[in-house]
């Protein structure tokens, strides 16, 4: 199904499917089916041209890094503000100029099913490629307006826990004097994107998606990250950001999507199996935008896949890079076995792990059915040596493995917390010290109180434990 068909024909299909006009009983409530599309859809003038678009050829600019918005220097924030002020001013001084801010916002509206448009770039494999191209030309226009073609958009790295608030430059001052501010946002300067929308579980799932259909979707379906974190952050910010038709009116949109773009880049780097689609139907998708010189351009999906060499921007290291090295595959090197406190490392396993440690691979230890006390909320440190557990030196200890938090569902324990956990720890950096021991590893848990004080020392019990090795490219 092509994008041009999606809105009209698939909508028609949908109406037919539910029996609209065919005598079938609708399962919707009254009013939900009032398809008053023409009366209520977002009005956005086509940002394009009837002229034939000129194919985008080559970008010879130096490669420059897109930086995290929260880490910009004062001068870089000022440059960003100058660029958006110039873009907003252009909308006021020459409303017909396609480089003005209102027109730039309309580009998103138009390509997302605005009135009269047959294009919808969401909900399919167009999502990542189209937005990358959109930001690319948007970035070039901003650069042109401030006379600096080395300008690069910043990204809002909401996947970093310390950066879950709106980047300060976009939130303060919170008035029209700040070209990066938008008064419709529901999210205030001190609000944070919640953990469940962008936290470790979400990001691990996204960055380990098995193939592009799971990551970026197919011709007719979306991938995992389009719903979360992407969609969830749109809803969290709210206001203009909450709707396709208006999202481009909020400057944070471009910073948000730069991070979505970075996630795509990180996913590609995460494994040699994380490939983009090779189908010509994908590679030959063509997207159209005005460039910084008001020339109507066409760029293919194939041309945006390598952002460094073709689009001349890079990203800084990912916080996931330690967690997700360039994996070829995870190899389980020991079958699960019942664990009562100790784990013997036989000669074969020792050899395998030692080889992994010297080859630069990542080694993890997995505990299935790890038993934790659930009488109160606490953090339990895991040690591979009982004496080290007694000493409770935390990360200073060579036998320290990691921590297992236990948070009760409610203080009265009306909704009991499961006493078993599945825990995985990366032990690559401690592997050599662990292997020095000839005796079996003796695992123990050490309770840590709310102020870091040492509590109970408990023998570790689990239903199974195994190691895995990440083969690194």
């Amino acid at each position: 199904m092509t994008s041009g068909r999606r809105n009209d024909e698939s909508r028609r299909d949908f109406l037919e499917q539910i029996g609209f006009g065919a005598g079938a009983i609708s399962l919707f409530g009254a009013g939900f089916l009032s398809v008053a599309r023409e009366a209520s859809a977002q009005a956005c003038a086509p940002p394009g041209s009837t002229a034939t678009a000129k194919a985008w050829r080559r970008d010879n600019r130096p490669i420059r890094q897109r930086k995290a918005a929260s880490t910009l220097s004062t001068a870089e924030v000022q440059k960003l503000r100058d660029a958006y002020k110039a873009m907003r001013d252009l909308s006021a001084s020459d409303p017909a100029d396609p480089r003005g801010f209102a027109h730039q916002a309309n580009v998103h509206c138009w390509n997302c099913g605005g009135i009269g448009s047959t294009i919808q770039v969401h909900g399919s494999w167009q999502f990542f490629a189209w937005h990358r191209a959109y930001l690319y030309f948007h970035e070039r226009i901003l650069g042109k307006l401030i006379g600096d073609m080395e300008f690069r958009l910043p990204y809002w790295d909401w996947d970093v826990p310390a950066h879950r608030k709106l980047p300060p430059a976009y939130a303060t001052p919170g008035d029209a004097s700040n070209p990066l501010w938008n008064g419709t946002r529901f999210m205030g300067a001190n609000d944070e994107v919640p953990e469940e929308d962008v936290g470790t579980d979400v990001m691990d799932a996204v960055l380990t998606a098995a193939d592009f259909s799971d990551f970026g979707g197919t011709a007719t379906s979306s991938g995992i990250p389009e719903g979360a974190p992407h969609g969830a952050v749109h809803v969290d910010v709210g206001g203009d950001m909450g709707a396709f038709g208006t999202a481009g009116k909020d400057p944070i949109f471009y910073s948000h999507h730069a991070n979505v773009d970075k996630v795509w880049s990180d996913w590609n780097k995460g494994s040699s199996t994380h490939d983009n689609p090779e189908a010509s139907a994908f590679l030959n998708l063509r997207f159209r935008f005005f460039d910084e010189n008001k020339v109507w351009r066409s760029i293919s999906a194939a041309r945006v896949l390598d952002h460094e060499s073709k689009l001349r921007y890079s990203y800084g290291p990912s916080i996931e890079s330690d967690v997700l090295p360039r994996l070829l595959e995870w190899v389980e090197v020991q079958p699960p076995r019942p664990v009562q406190r100790t784990v013997a490392i036989d000669a074969r396993l020792r050899e395998t792990l030692a080889k992994a440690a010297t080859s630069g691979a990542q080694v993890r230890i997995h505990f299935d059915g790890l038993q934790v006390p659930v009488d109160k909320s606490a953090v339990y440190s895991v040690y591979a040596d009982v004496r080290e557990a007694e000493a409770a030196r935390g990360a200073q200890s060579p036998a320290f493995i990691g921590v297992v938090p236990v948070v009760l569902n409610d203080k009265d324990n009306r909704h009991p917390t499961p006493p078993e956990r599945r825990a995985v720890f990366n032990v690559t950096k401690r592997l050599a010290q662990l292997l020095e021991r000839q005796a079996p590893l003796e695992f123990a848990l050490v309770e840590r109180g709310p102020r870091g004080e040492k509590g109970r020392v408990l023998p570790l019990r689990a239903r199974a434990v195994h190691f895995s090795v990440a083969q690194v490219e």
């Binding site: 499917q17 919707f28 409530g29 009013g31 997302c112 979360a228 809803v235 396709f244 038709g245």
Partner: protein, 149 residues
């Protein structure tokens, strides 16, 4: 053919449920992905969907979720059906530790606003199933058309 429906907006705080079959040996899969197809949502409301595994007598176990953009604030009518994928691997494993013999799982769907407060939304799912992603060729289609209740 649409087999499931959320009719009038559910009151804020209410949760819709459907039951899907668990693929054989799902615990051994690298990924378990919840596929929601033919998802129809209103055009005028941005909201989030939070999916949890539900068992009688236990607290819900969060599995994941997704955000749904509006076309335009206040727009009437519904959007053309789309599909969503949610990786539910970690949450489902946590739930599975307490229900190792389960053949099905009840999924509870909550609708939330941008501040993660429950809101009333009319939306519906045509097909729901769990897909195993141990490798790119292994998948299982189960429980097509499970009903939201």
């Amino acid at each position: 053919m649409l087999l499931a429906a959320g009719s009038d907006p559910s009151p804020p705080g209410s949760v819709q449920q459907l039951e899907v079959a668990l693929p054989p040996e799902w615990q051994l899969s690298v990924h378990v992905v919840l596929m929601l197809e033919d998802v129809t949502t209103p055009r005028g409301i941005a909201f989030k969907v939070q999916v949890s595994a539900r068992s009688e007598g236990d607290a819900d176990v969060p599995l994941g979720g997704f955000g749904v953009l509006a076309d335009a604030a206040g727009a009437e009518g519904s959007r053309a059906p789309v599909s969503y994928r949610v990786d539910v691997t970690r949450g489902l494993r946590r739930w599975g530790e307490r229900h190792p013999a389960a053949k099905t799982v009840t999924l509870a769907f909550s609708t939330l606003d941008g501040r993660s407060r429950p809101i009333a939304v009319s939306w519906r799912v045509g097909h729901a199933f769990l897909k195993l992603r141990s490798d790119s060729t292994k998948s299982a289609v189960l429980a097509q058309g499970a009903a939201l209740e």
